[in-house]
């Protein structure tokens, strides 16, 4: 098959940028050099030169966020910097007076009583592993060499503070959306129509940004589209998707709608009114409508219990010890799943490129897929064989809200496992007991298990030897005991920064169960056969009142719901 194809990522919306920041942190080429892993960074990263003619890798991403959410992130481009791999996050707030009392408070809480020394920025990429992150959970600052300390998730209220990568050409790839033209008070982009209106204004620059990346690619494989599902960024995504459909119709596009559990604070409480609710649901519907039209496969992700409730609260994960309502934490869970799911097509010689994965998942026109993840895959000291025999896939958390992973009825399943040691597949005694079973690898073990448990579905199983590495600034989602039990290896790149190597399992399913979430959406907004135009209008009107109503007309809105209905029908046809 030859070379892996390049993928362009879109991060549309504030939460999408949270997820994206984690996603690219996890892949950081400076921490995962190509000779140590099987990954080919060229897929998501673009090779460039800085002014010193050194090779640098920067993510091939186009980002959209409100002006105020950027802070000072990415004001400088990668080629302004003398050192490769310098941490952009360190600049994030350096020009602003950091809230001093908070810093003091944090400094008191550090369990480090040794001497605190000034940290000089790395000046050579070769020893990048050694002197990154001098203390666990601390963040060094370039501000006149003076040390500022950041600790814990509450500190990262903006993604720019922990994103360790930077853009190559922020002028072309970073779109700061001014917001005053619509909602001077709330400073947010509320509805799909507003988003589309904003897109029409920046269209030329966006298209140029996409073209700029695409022109650079030898084998453009496709697009990853991370979009906030609840606010006006859906409209921007809708505009981009239409353009992709026109210009890059042969390329695979994986759409991911992202949901944020609503934390209990004032900023979010005003989103709980009926009007906001209706706007939110109609945003979701319109985003899914344009995903249906223009993407190969899409999914909805979120650590949210029920996205159709007035108050989408966070899901409970048994082992996660952190507060999932924090965008920094919840986005990490989603990014981990995305990192594993995308790993088969990030290999040097991908056996399973994006377009093949999408074609498995969208067979029979089932464009919506369900994604599940188990990071770490809790094997403990057991072998894979016994772990599967005992618990099956019960450790999988479904990351698509409002549905369950219904493997019994699934038509096609994609399993990506990583970091499971070949020696841990079967113990010697098990080998003797099940001699007839032809198990000699992780793949064959899973294959056999799947075939026996779910004989009706098609299974695609991809196993990678690279573990999922949980290290700062990825949040420590679990407690030490849990991590030590399930990790295969714990490594200190520096005496204080632990890095856990975790086995992981991520899955994506083509299943009729998806129709449930679609049906729920359609019945909520009153579409479909049992629906009424009156009800549909009550969802259209608050949303259209926020913008120039000619941007999205009622007919467009109704068409989009019809589109979703026919998508739903493809699931029941079988």
């Amino acid at each position: 098959m030859g070379q892996p194809g390049e993928i362009i990522t879109f991060q549309v919306g504030n939460y999408a940028n949270f997820v994206g920041a984690h996603f690219f942190n996890l892949q950081d080429p400076h921490l995962n050099p190509e000779h140590e892993t099987d990954f080919c960074h060229r897929v998501f990263w673009r090779e460039g030169q800085n002014f010193q003619r050194q090779k640098i890798l920067t993510p091939r991403v186009l980002m959209f966020d409100l002006k105020d959410n950027w802070g000072n992130a990415f004001i400088r481009n990668s080629n302004d910097v003398s050192e490769p791999g310098i941490q952009p996050g360190t600049f994030a707030k350096s020009n602003q007076p950091v809230k001093q009392n908070r810093v003091d408070q944090v400094e008191k809480n550090i369990s480090w009583d040794g001497k605190v020394q000034t940290v000089v920025l790395r000046n050579d990429s070769s020893d990048s592993d050694e002197d990154l992150d001098p203390l666990p959970g601390t963040h060094k600052s370039a501000n006149a060499g003076k040390k500022k300390v950041k600790l814990g998730p509450s500190d990262f209220s903006s993604w720019g503070e922990y994103a360790k990568w930077r853009l190559h050409n922020a002028d072309k790839a970073a779109f700061r959306i001014p917001n005053y033209m619509y909602n001077a008070g709330s400073e947010e982009l509320v509805s799909y129509g507003q988003g589309l209106d904003v897109y029409n204004k920046i269209q030329e620059n966006v298209e140029d940004g996409i073209r700029h990346y695409a022109e650079d690619c030898d084998h453009l494989e496709g697009f990853h589209m991370l979009v906030d599902e609840y606010d006006g960024f859906t409209g921007i995504a809708g505009g981009i998707l239409e353009h992709l459909g026109d210009e890059y119709d042969k390329k695979a596009c994986l759409g991911l709608g992202l949901n944020h559990p609503f934390p209990d604070n004032e900023k979010w409480s005003k989103r709980r009114t009926l009007k906001e609710y209706k706007i939110r649901i109609s945003n979701t519907a319109q985003l899914w409508g344009s995903f249906t039209n223009h993407s190969r496969v899409f999914s909805s992700l979120g650590v949210t219990e029920d996205i159709f409730s007035m108050n989408p609260s966070s899901k409970k994960f048994t082992s996660v010890v952190q507060d999932c309502t924090s965008p920094y934490i919840s986005s990490a869970i989603l990014a981990a799943a995305l990192d594993s799911l995308s790993s088969p097509y990030r290999l040097h010689s991908p056996s399973f490129p994006l377009h093949e994965m999408t074609s498995v998942l969208n067979a029979f026109g089932h464009k919506m897929t369900i994604i599940g993840s188990s990071t770490p895959f809790p094997m403990g000291q057991q072998t894979l064989f016994s772990a599967l025999n005992k618990d099956g896939f019960s450790s999988l958390n479904c990351l698509t809200p409002n549905v369950s992973l219904d493997l019994d009825t699934a038509l096609g399943n994609v399993f990506v496992t990583r970091g499971i040691n070949q020696d841990h597949v079967m113990s010697k005694s098990e080998c003797r007991e099940y001699k007839h079973a032809d198990i000699n690898s992780v793949t064959s073990c899973l294959e056999l298990f799947c075939q026996e448990s779910y004989p009706r579905s098609v299974h695609v199983i991809k196993n990678l030897s690279n573990s999922f590495k949980m290290r700062y600034p990825f949040p420590k989602l679990y407690d030490d005991v849990y991590l030590d039990t399930h990790s295969t290896k714990k490594q200190f790149t520096n005496p204080q920064v632990p890095c856990w190597f975790l086995p992981a399992l991520t899955t994506a399913h083509n299943t009729p169960g998806t129709s449930k979430i679609l049906e729920r959406l359609i019945s909520t907004i009153g579409g479909g056969t049992g629906g009424s135009a009156m009800k549909l209008k009550t969802f259209y009107e608050p949303s259209s009142a926020t913008c120039n109503s000619s941007v999205v007309e009622f007919e467009d809105f109704a068409d989009c719901v019809t589109e979703l209905c026919s998508l739903k029908d493809t699931y029941s046809a079988e």
Binding site: G71, N72, D171, A214, E215, K250, S359, V458
Partner: protein, 529 residues
């Protein structure tokens, strides 16, 4: 108590005097802000965004768009004055100033108990007269280059400093003259591409009679400079793309899959071969002719390799807009398939070369035979400077296209406003409209006054000379350089006819509406927050 509060107890309202005061203070406020930016000698404003981006400008349109105007009346004035900017491209600041001044002078009259209707009726009479003056002093436009350069200069000098303005004026004029369609007498400004290149100095900006693209050949063996070129513009995928429909499910064996992929590859190779055949046909071995392919879709490394072996320069993923421009600049047509390629489809350019700037490559397509599309290449050391230039060029081009399409220009340097004042003073009128006419005649003087005061000369002395002395007879303008009077036509200062018309129309309409407002109420549906 207002009647509205019986109907809607939550309504907020302001009545009569109070309503007028709100409107007047908004109009005064916004014109105070813009006052110092008027004219070639006006000062600049620095706009800092929330993220720290900086924009330095004195373009009224840009200012009004970028400032967060929250006052409803002020925002109405801003919208009214920028509404026609897309078409006219100039005169925004003047409109705001004239509205402000008229409102200011109307306030005491209405406060004394005069009904606003009396004032507005007079304003309409004044407007009619002003438009008559406009018709009487307008000058027909010729397509003469130096004349048009003067028109562009006047528009540009109010946006950027003089040396740069004069340089850009020449560029704009040449660009517009190049794309002017003499048969249909039409100008499509989209056919002028504006490219920016962060490089050297503002004064190195220039006009390329052809096209500049922001990408280059992606193969090390491709030629970087060619002369005497045939240009093939096409929208054909020369990239190996995988079959899409459920491929994962339906291969029965890996051999079949390989075979399918091989046939796909061959399909692409055939397309490349077709292009190479055409090249061989039009550029026989030994001739000095060359071949360039500009494709809107992708070209993968294997195809690039094949093209490079033949000495063809291949550019991939060209801008969609550029495809249209290419065929206008070089001739030929954009091809959507390689099936029926003939030499007729090809365009021609005398010179195609690549310019590398750091990491960025630019490809120039120059020396076209009869370019109907040109590129303005802006250079400059700083980003904010280029943004400034871009805004200025945009206005300069519009000024030119408007004056060519109107067929007339108006003497500039305040000459029009002074003439209107003089005409209104002499106008015989009935008692009812006298208040409005006098008011407008006084108000319109604010523009020449501010022009003079912005350039640091004695306002009263110069304006009085222009109005009441012997030098001031006929059409005179204000020489802001020397603080003297001159004839704007001999000095080559022309304003846009449409902009002046717009100035009179828009300001009278807005002022009339604002003065006739006797009650402001916020009683609509509660806002959406």
């Amino acid at each position: 108590m207002s009647a509205i509060s019986i109907l809607n107890p939550k309504a907020e309202f302001a009545r009569a005097q109070q309503a007028l005061a709100i409107n007047v203070s908004a109009a005064k406020g916004i014109s105070e802000i813009m006052k110092s930016n008027l004219g070639p000698k006006g000062t600049m404003k620095m706009l800092v965004s929330g993220a720290g981006d900086i924009k330095i400008t004195k373009d009224g349109n840009v200012l009004l768009h970028e400032m967060q105007i929250q006052h409803p009346t002020a925002s109405l004035i801003a919208k009214a004055s920028t509404a026609h900017d897309d078409v006219v491209g100039d005169g925004t600041t003047s409109i705001v100033l004239l509205i402000g001044e008229t409102m200011k002078s109307a306030e005491p009259i209405i406060s004394e108990g005069c009904h606003p209707r009396v004032v507005t009726d007079g304003l309409v009479v004044a407007k009619e007269e002003a438009l008559k003056v406009l018709e009487s002093i307008k000058i027909p436009v010729s397509l003469d280059r130096s004349f048009l350069i003067d028109v562009a200069k006047t528009a540009l000098r109010t946006k950027v400093h003089q040396a740069l303005a004069d340089h850009l004026a020449t560029i704009c004029t040449d660009a517009v003259l190049n794309i002017y369609d003499k048969e249909n007498k039409s100008i499509d400004l989209h056919m002028i591409e504006i490219m920016d290149m962060q490089h050297r100095n503002e004064l190195d900006s220039g006009l390329v009679r052809g096209l500049v693209m922001d990408h280059g050949g992606r193969h090390p063996d491709m030629p970087t400079s060619l002369t005497n070129c045939y240009i093939l513009t096409c929208n054909v995928s020369l990239e190996f793309e995988k079959t899409e429909v459920n491929a994962g499910f339906f291969y029965s064996s890996s051999e079949k899959r390989e075979a399918l992929l091989a046939s796909e590859r061959e399909f692409i190779d055939q397309r490349v071969q077709k292009i190479i055949e055409l090249k061989k046909q039009v550029c026989p071995a030994g001739s000095d002719k060359n071949f360039v392919v500009i494709n809107q879709k992708g070209i993968d490394p294997l195809s690039l390799d094949a093209l490079a072996k033949e000495g063809i320069l291949g550019l991939r993923r060209a801008k969609r807009r550029n495809m249209e421009r290419l065929s206008l600049a070089c001739g030929g047509m954009a091809m959507n398939s390689v099936e029926d390629l003939t030499p007729d489809c090809l365009g021609y350019a005398g010179n195609v070369y690549e310019h590398v700037l750091g990491e960025n490559k630019f490809t120039y397509v120059e020396d076209c035979k009869n370019p109907k599309s040109v590129t303005i290449l802006l250079k400059g050391p700083t980003k904010y400077g280029m943004v400034q230039m871009k805004d200025a060029i945009r206005d300069g081009l519009r000024a030119l296209s408007n004056s060519i399409q109107d067929g007339f220009v108006v003497p500039g340097a305040g000459a029009f406003e002074l003439s209107v004042h003089k005409a209104l003073e002499k106008l015989p009128m009935d008692a009812r409209s006298v208040l409005g006419v006098k008011l407008f005649s006084k108000a319109i003087l604010c523009i020449p006054k501010i022009l003079v005061s912005n350039s640091g000369h004695d306002t009263q002395a110069l304006i009085n000379r222009a109005l009441y002395s012997k030098d001031g007879e006929g059409v005179v303008g204000l020489d802001l350089e020397n603080g003297d009077l001159f004839n704007p036509v001999t000095a080559g200062i022309y304003d846009i006819y449409a902009a002046k018309r717009q100035l009179i129309d828009a300001s009278v309409v807005v002022v009339t509406n604002l003065l006739l407002t006797d009650e402001i109420m916020r009683a609509g549906l509660s806002s959406l927050k």
